[in-house]
Amino acid sequence: MESSSIAGSGDIPQAGLNLPESYRRKATGLVREIPLKNMIAFSISGATPVAVVLAGGLFAIFGAFPGANFTLDLVISLAMLPLMLVVFSLMAATMPRAGGDYLFGSRFLHPILGLFSHFGTYTGAALGIGFVCFGFTHLGLSPALAVIGTVTESSGLITASEEVVRSGWTFGIGTALIIGLSVLSIFGTAAAMKWIGYGIYISSAAVVIGIVILLFSSHQDFVNALNSTASSVGVHTDVYSKTVQEGLKGGAWYPSEKGYDVGNTIGAFYPIFTLICATFYGTFVIGEMRGAGKRQRQLVSMLASGFGNGLLVLIGVLVMASAINYNFMVAATSGFFALELPATFTLFMSILTNSVVAVILSLAFMLAFPAWLYGQLGLCQRTPFALAFDGVLPKRFARVNSRTHTPIPAIVFTMVLGIAITLWASYSSSFLELLAYIGVAAFLAPIFVGLSALSLYFRHKQVYRGSPADWRLLGIPVLPISACGAIFLGLLLETLIFVFHENLGVVHLWIPIALLLGLMTAAVLTYTIAVRAQRERGVDLTLVYKSIPAE
């Protein structure tokens, strides 16, 4: 028998007595808690790699939202992050089972709404496959080839850096990545999976090193390094000054000249918040972790990873603005860069260090993409399980191979779907257009998880009371407040996509509207067909979602 002292407790007052909180007997499943640092690490591994956000995400936004105050948007994004993460954490801690928004929505709202939200999440993850493959060539491979070509003075590699961003190469390389990771998934090689996870940490470490390099470099150091790099590739002009001047002539928006544009600052909030908020995806798999049912640990792991990534991005932007200069970044990413090299964080950081470090860092950045892709593939592969368990999808969708213990049908289906989406993404207009469609689908989740949380609070008191979601700060219940915050945030982000659709490269508004209608239609059809098909087998599917009274 052990007495357990939960963090923060220990003393029961009255004459200074020291009594333990509870006595726990030896029983099956009693294990040491997974260290909090591992939970945080797992949350981080499910988030958008910081390297991706800095390496290109922000740079793509400069040109699309001229005059936007990115620093302000980042600060506001960090401030609003808890609105989403808190409600996800509390709900995941209350129902620590795989299924995420489907589980919450189907149990506390209606199965169709749970499916609608979850199909949105699934679609966001599936589109994310294309997004990551697109990003790999444009933001990872191309800059790495450019850096290596520059330091080795290889015109062939520099040419290759321009070639790989063409649609055909993007599709081919992306397909190879998808197939490779799918094969690894099938055989469930634990060692391979471990190194994929380490890819996130290595790329994040590379970002930190890159930021430190910039931090200890003066602006003049950067100018000198840039012009020196230009000379090495045969461009003997002041590239820095030329870029800035060309940008000014071409109408690039320099905040130092024109101030910030309020409208575009509001619009840029969407892509910035989207890139740093993906930590919530971790809740969908967090149920398998011991300790997921503990509110404090769930909150700390999600907020730490979310804020950790977000703060790193903010610091990176501030450091870049100082060392590289904001106006130059705007001009370089708006098509005025006076050098035939990709204007990315990778390049700008690399030129400030020696050749060996530059090559290592640019290769390390690339590791973020396969690691992130693995996460996107995994999310899609897992979706059938919760649905098949409930009987909404046929069990064959979640069949696990007896030899490899992996869900081969789900992996193969995801692979084929991913390749198809990569084909579309490779020929799409821009990085941001993909991000827009991802957001339309994926931001249904905070809306419906928020609604589920409100339903839990107001209509399922018996489940709520005493659960991890039953948390008060200064006597005020946190769950309904954070739920309203998540709903507001989800609606705001969806609205921004439609209002700023042109900035995001979404030319035809009917596409995102059709996407939403398609998701709802799919949810209605899936549920209706499943209910009917199961009824013919003598199974009443509605029983799955029925409350079982205790009294």
Binding site: M1, I6, S9, D11, I12, P13, Q14, L19, E21, S22, Y23, R24, R25, A27, T28, L30, V31, R32, I34, N38, F42, S45, T94, P96, R107, A190, M193, K194, W195, G197, Y201, E288, M289, R290, G293, Y374, F389, G391, P394, K395, V400, S402, V463, R465, G466, S467, D470, I529, A530, A533, E536, R537, G538, V539, D540, L543, K546, I548, P549, A550
Partner: protein, 327 residues
Amino acid sequence: MKLFGSGKPREKGSRLFFATDIHGSGACFRKFLNSAEVFGCDYLVLGGDITGKVLLPVVDHGDGTFSFSQGGHDYKGVRREEMEEVVEAARRQGDYPYVASLSEVEALQDEPHCEAVFRKVVYDSVADWVTLAEERLKGTGRRLFMAPGNDDFFEIDRALEGSDVVEFAENRCLQFDENHQMITTGYANPTPWDTERELPENELRARIDAMAAKVSDPHNLIAVLHPPPFDSTLDSAPKIDAELNVEFNHGVGVVTAPVGSTAVRGFIEDAQPILSLHGHVHEGGGSTYIGRTLAINPGSAYTEGTLVGAVVEVGAEEVISHQFVSG
């Protein structure tokens, strides 16, 4: 519509509700009793591990106020209403409140005494459950089968036996319905926790075989065997080391390993019962076929106060349908 399986014309069978590993959750047990009505079942089968793991001491100051610590909060001199609200929430999750005087609570620091108190509290709780079952099910015609699991103290067997409503199923071959017999054991293969009812695999197999020897028609047998079959996907649990640390892989999260019983698997492969029902591994919820045998583990979510179970309709020659439910 054959999308979800066989399109054969439906026969009517016996409808059972199976849940397991409720670990002392009062809410789950009360829901279990009501499940027969909710899901239209004539048979209720509660798998093992029905008792909880945690004793929650509550000091009764004798003046209408109470003190205890729960969920990281200290409750100091609170009134009965507040105490009961918090304690009820703890009871829902399977904790056993022990309301006693200060000196009695202090005495719990003596381990043998604490163990004895724990066993008594658990026994009383199970006895209360039996009484509740009798109140709710008497005269309904519904049958309730219960058996302890590897985590359950031996003392509770006495509380489960001798009831008109609860049919104590441990180590017995019972006539389930006109077509099927049922054997049950809550014993498990060895675990790192050295629990009450564990046996080496060969002895576990012998125990199961001894029950099966009394079965007249093995092909229509329902086997309620607490540990899932080894390497069946129903037995995937977090992998732990000798210090009970969960093995963690930064790339994929928790590393899992099969922890089921080879004896159970061997028995199923040899005897091919029509249906096997399992528990023990809370994370292993699902179903699979081993030959013709449908093996089911509904898993457990007792910590949420949520009852997870399986509604199974068993026909004369095959399992007609099954689905997982929770609420």
